[in-house]
Amino acid sequence: MAKVIARVKILPKDIATKPDVILNSISGFKLIKYQVEPIAFGLNAIIADFELDDAEGGTDPLEQALLTNKLISEMEVIGVSNARTKL
């Protein structure tokens, strides 16, 4: 099946949790790359690209996995693209 890349913005529950700890706790989705976006007062957002099947339901399984992750407070999908395209 064709692959797509979903770019998500993740906000941690605890500002002290390191981005790689959060990313390591996400299973079942292939992380392609990520960037830390510094926000304020020590809080960083994570901008991460995950590879998904170009399937019915779109980004829903990923969104569900992130929203139910205990280390994650909020998330939003900021872009979806063909896997061969550089976001």
Binding site: L11, I15, E37, P38, I39, A40, F41, G42, L43, A45, G57, G58, D60, S73, E74, E76, V77, G79, V80
Partner: protein, 332 residues
């Protein structure tokens, strides 16, 4: 595509030039056709049209086929309500890269811009700095040594350190003690800035994602009921009054109910095609009355705040419809 479209200033509509694919995409129920109507409904007026797969026409890079597809796409876009003469319509191949970043050597008959040039020609909308302040809350933290820190992106207006702000719907007032972006203190925040800010007078547990912050003299509108113009992108059967999808607007996600289907309309002109239809289906545009049944919602009319007046309706992981707020009929 659709949640993104509800924030977009511009869009690229991709139509395949491959025999058969064009016809499917542009005909009744076709994806390009629906996306075009959707973009029009959401007020996305800057459009670039790509006629893709030019490498796969018969013969490859056929000007005749391009003209055919261009005419079909133009007819559709005219029907949707776009001023076609002003839109770049570009023959490309995503496969071979023709006319994407560099002028194609295979498509010598085409004299217009490449995709990259067309992107550079898009107009950046002016920053809505002189509008009333609106910051949809993304999240809230309680940070040791700092205090309550809401996080969000400024959509309109300017927020300055020292000002009194109000968070809606709960109507809580607080004072902005400091603002940071990229971990750097700033005196004011403007549209587009991703910020965290420390407010005194508001506790973390009282502020949630989906609430909107503004100034007390012009607070964000809280609505219990509003009328919207929607375009149905996908529904397996038909939508009747009483349907309860999830509404996504700015950072809010809230259960909502279509309490009345007021009329089926022509998406180009807004003219009524049918009064109070029993149902609406995929491809239909309609005026509907929406009611968040549990909690009121911060939402604005599209006319006043285009950035906050667009929304998507989702159900079981799919976007069912997207639309704009025409009128707030019941304020909270």
């Amino acid at each position: 595509m659709i949640t993104g479209a509800s924030q977009a200033d511009a869009a690229i509509l991709v139509v395949s030039a491959k025999e058969g694919e064009t016809e499917t995409a542009l005909s009744e129920g076709g994806q390009a056709r629906e996306h075009a109507f959707l973009l029009k409904t959401l007020g996305v007026n800057q459009l670039i049209v790509l006629i893709n797969k030019m490498d796969a026409t018969q013969p490859p890079y056929s000007q005749k086929r391009f003209d055919e597809v261009k005419n079909m796409a133009s007819d559709l876009l005219k029907l949707v309500g776009y001023k076609v003469d002003t839109l770049p319509i570009i023959p490309v191949s995503g496969w071979t890269g023709d006319n994407l970043s560099e002028k194609s050597t295979n498509i010598t008959w085409y004299k217009g811009p490449t995709l990259l040039e067309a992107l550079d020609n898009l107009q950046v909308p002016p920053k809505p700095t002189d509008k009333p302040l609106r910051i949809p809350i993304q999240d809230v933290y309680s940070i040791t040594g700092v205090g309550t820190v809401p996080v969000g992106r400024v959509v309109t207006g300017v927020m300055k350190v020292g000002e009194t702000i109000i968070v809606m719907p709960p109507a809580l007032k607080g004072e902005v003690k400091s603002i940071e972006t990229h971990h750097t203190g700033v005196e004011k925040a403007e549209p587009g800035d991703n910020i965290g800010f420390n407010v005194r007078g508001i506790a973390k547990q009282d502020v949630k994602r989906g609430m909107v912050l503004g100034h007390p003299d012009n607070p964000p509108t809280v609505s219990k009921e509003f009328i919207a113009q929607i375009f149905v992108v996908f529904h397996p059967t038909a939508i009747a009054a009483g349907y309860t999808p999830v509404l996504h607007a700015h950072t809010a996600q809230i259960a909502t109910s279509i309490s009345e289907i007021i009329s089926k309309i022509d998406p180009r002109t807004g003219q009524v095609v049918e009064d109070h239809p029993k149902t609406i289906k995929t491809g239909d545009a309609a005026l509907v009355r929406l009611k968040p049944p549990l909690t009121p919602l911060c939402i604005e009319t599209y006319k006043e705040f285009p950035e906050l007046g667009r929304f998507a309706l989702r159900d079981s992981g799919r976007t069912v419809a997207a639309g704009i707020v025409k009128e707030i009929t019941q304020k909270a």
